[in-house]
């Protein structure tokens, strides 16, 4: 085991990343260590990136520990580029994060400066940036160790040394990627960063000079924003099906509340009711910390919604009421707990149907129609997965005679089958799979079950297993 990262005091004591744990313990016996948790690290980075949304919608992750912000056109809101950077640095410091940051014209230049410039190039003029960039060590190209050594041996230790040379030579010796990186760091070649989130159709926000400490007050602010949003949507004859409220804490963390509706809406009380519902349903309550200083409401997408005319007979109103009920239940219980059923074209019983969230526009299709006079051949309830049962049958490939399910012995008096359902062998690498022989059975007490034998006796399985797959009415 090796040290992946060390704290500043440990650095002072002479420990460095990469040192083996045994050596470190030998030097400092009471060393406190914790396991590396890359998942938690990336989750934390995501949360910080969420917090940076307050500055610009263009935030990109630079894992494992970097963020790139495109602040073109945003900096003046925070007192210029330096002001923005100071604000960010102060918030990160409040979270206990040590961060180094840099401003430059292209994402790669800023990244290289933040990571490899030894002295923080804080108040920089146009010319200073260029000279600092030229003074960066060639490690900032992040080439293979071998190539780095080769460059150093050739006496090329700074970016400037390399940038002065024709790029064809560099790409011939170190590959296209190296020349490309060099161009992006020192050559002013710009690329667009990929934002983490697509831009929303409508974003409204409210800043507070004095942070608000109560969730109710934040909710009231969301209500205010929702009213403005509803006004804007009404003008455009549009409605939203998703709404997202983000509460930015002063220490840079963000809490997002998302709601979703089945039909496009712009009704403020309705939207606010769903937000309240969402707040109540949160497993961990919203913690205002030192208060929220920015509340933002965004509507990711607009959908057409004509001004409502109340019908005399109230038909559309009733439909709207059901949609509202489903929205509310989906918000409270989670969208996967409120679902509709849709048919799917498959002969495998459990795949002949799928359940989808009722809040989504329905995939509809027609269900198989039965001959008149036939009893139901499919159960009303299906076990997923099928439950194992003990079965006694007269002959190994005959219908079941009695079976034990949930410690209860059922004596079969009526049975129909087998209905043989083949496996999807063409989907499998070995072109095999067990067929199922389904039986519709009724026991002595009149209960009807759907059982199947998994595997054909003698051909596919020596001792086929039995399962119960469903219950009939």
């Amino acid at each position: 085991m090796r040290l992946a990262a060390v704290s500043p005091p440990a650095l002072v004591l002479g420990l460095t990343p990469g040192l083996s744990l045994a050596d470190a313990r030998a030097r400092i016996p009471d060393l406190a260590v914790a396991g590396v948790d890359p998942t938690a690290d990336s989750a934390w980075l995501e949360r910080i990136a969420d917090g940076c949304d307050r500055y610009t919608p263009m935030v990109a992750l630079d894992p494992p520990e970097g963020l790139i912000l495109d602040i073109s056109g945003c900096a003046h809101l925070f007192g210029g580029e330096e002001g923005l950077r100071d604000d960010l640095a102060a918030r990160l410091a409040r979270l206990g994060m040590a961060a180094s940051s840099a401003l430059a014209d292209t994402p790669d230049a800023a990244r290289a400066l933040a990571r490899y410039a030894h002295s923080s190039p804080s108040p920089l003029g146009e010319g200073d940036v260029t000279s600092t960039l030229k003074n960066l060590p060639i490690e900032s190209l992040e080439l293979d160790a071998e190539d780095g050594v080769a460059l150093r041996r050739a006496g090329l230790k700074r970016i400037g040394d390399l940038a002065a040379r024709p790029s064809q030579l560099i790409s011939a010796r170190f590959g296209e990627a190296a020349a490309d990186r060099l161009g992006r760091i020192a050559g002013g070649r710009d690329i667009r960063i990929a934002a983490r989130r697509p831009e929303a159709a409508l974003v409204l926000e409210r800043r507070f000079a004095e942070p608000i400490g109560r969730t109710e007050a934040a909710l009231a602010a969301i209500g205010e924003l929702a009213r403005q949003a509803a006004h804007r949507m009404a003008e455009a004859h549009r409605g939203g099906r998703r709404f997202e409220a983000r509460l930015f804490r002063t220490d840079g963390l963000v809490r997002a509340l998302r709601i979703e509706t089945g039909l496009p809406v712009r009704d403020v009380p309705l939207i606010m009711r769903l937000f309240t519902e969402r707040l109540e349903a949160l497993a961990d309550p919203v913690d205002p910390g030192f208060g929220f200083d920015l509340v933002r409401l965004s509507v990711p997408m607009f959908e057409p919604l004509a001004p409502l005319q109340l019908p005399l007979e109230g038909g559309a109103l009733a439909e709207g009421e059901l949609a509202q009920l489903l929205d509310r239940l989906s918000t409270r219980l989670g969208r996967d707990r409120v679902r509709r059923l849709a048919p799917r074209d498959s002969h495998i019983p459990e795949q002949a149907m799928f359940a989808f969230p009722a809040i989504e526009a329905g995939a509809t299709g027609s269900w198989p129609v039965q001959e008149p006079g036939e009893p139901p051949l499919r159960p009303t309830h299906l076990f997923d997965p099928p439950q194992s049962i003990d079965v006694m049958a007269g002959v190994p490939d005959g219908p079941p005679q009695r079976f034990r399910w949930r410690r209860h012995l059922h004596e079969v008096v009526l049975a129909e089958g087998p209905e043989r359902i083949g496996a999807l062998w063409w989907r499998r690498a070995d072109n095999r799979g067990f067929s199922r022989d389904y039986y519709r059975v009724e026991d002595r007490e009149g209960r009807r079950f759907w059982l199947f034998r998994h595997g054909l006796y003698g051909r596919e399985a020596e001792r086929p297993a039995w399962y119960i797959h469903g219950l009939f009415a």
Binding site: L325, L333, P372, P375, H381, L382, V412, E416, E445, G446
Partner: protein, 263 residues
Amino acid sequence: MNESSPPLAALRAQVAALDGAKLSDSRRFVLGVESLDHRLGGGLPRARLHEMFAASTEDRGALAGLALMLAICVGQGPLLWIRQESGVRAVGRLYGPGLAELGLDPARLVEIVAPDEAGLLRAAGDAVRCPALSAVLIEPMGARGLDLTSSRRLAVAAEKSGVTILLLHGVAEPGPSAAYSRWRVRSRGSARLDAGAPGHPAMELELLRHRGGVPGLRICLEWNRDELAFREAALSGAPFSLPADGPAGAPDRDRGGGDRLSA
């Protein structure tokens, strides 16, 4: 005698007024069996709470079937089935093809799975206030069922909104409740089809209580999918009348004779 009857009539009217709106025939739904509908006074009322109990936990398939069939009888509107996670584990997920074969268009149905009984009650409370719904099926899994207060709350809301509530008790025993009618359901052997195949869904219903004053009754019903109505189950061919020591492999035996079995 004559003097006492006017106050009595007034009292009756008062009681009827207390009992909720007068039930007209249009607010009732029929089950399709004439004798039963007649005894119930023209079917069961809509906008009321009807409660049904499984005779044993093994009869939950019949219980669910009965609730679905009643929901089909109630009307054509959208249905909500509010279940509990433990209920889904115990009897399985709703299966669309099977519902369609029972005569219910699964597109009418929304299945809601609440994590616990509190969530179920809250969802039910919201659902019964939505007049767009035709019926709400509520399937609590608690061993004690709903208490009087919560069932009363549901019943009052249903009277206002016009939603019919079907309360399914798979495990609970009958206790005090505000239900308009209360039934116990037991699976019943179906009329056997050719080659020993199980026939149409059949069940035995027992009326335990009826607010309209209908005395208890017991009837065997069979579901007629083609007409979306119940019919009285034929008495013959009931497999539970087979001798207990008869060969268990009935299907095997049936290959020989084709006649209906009877004791």
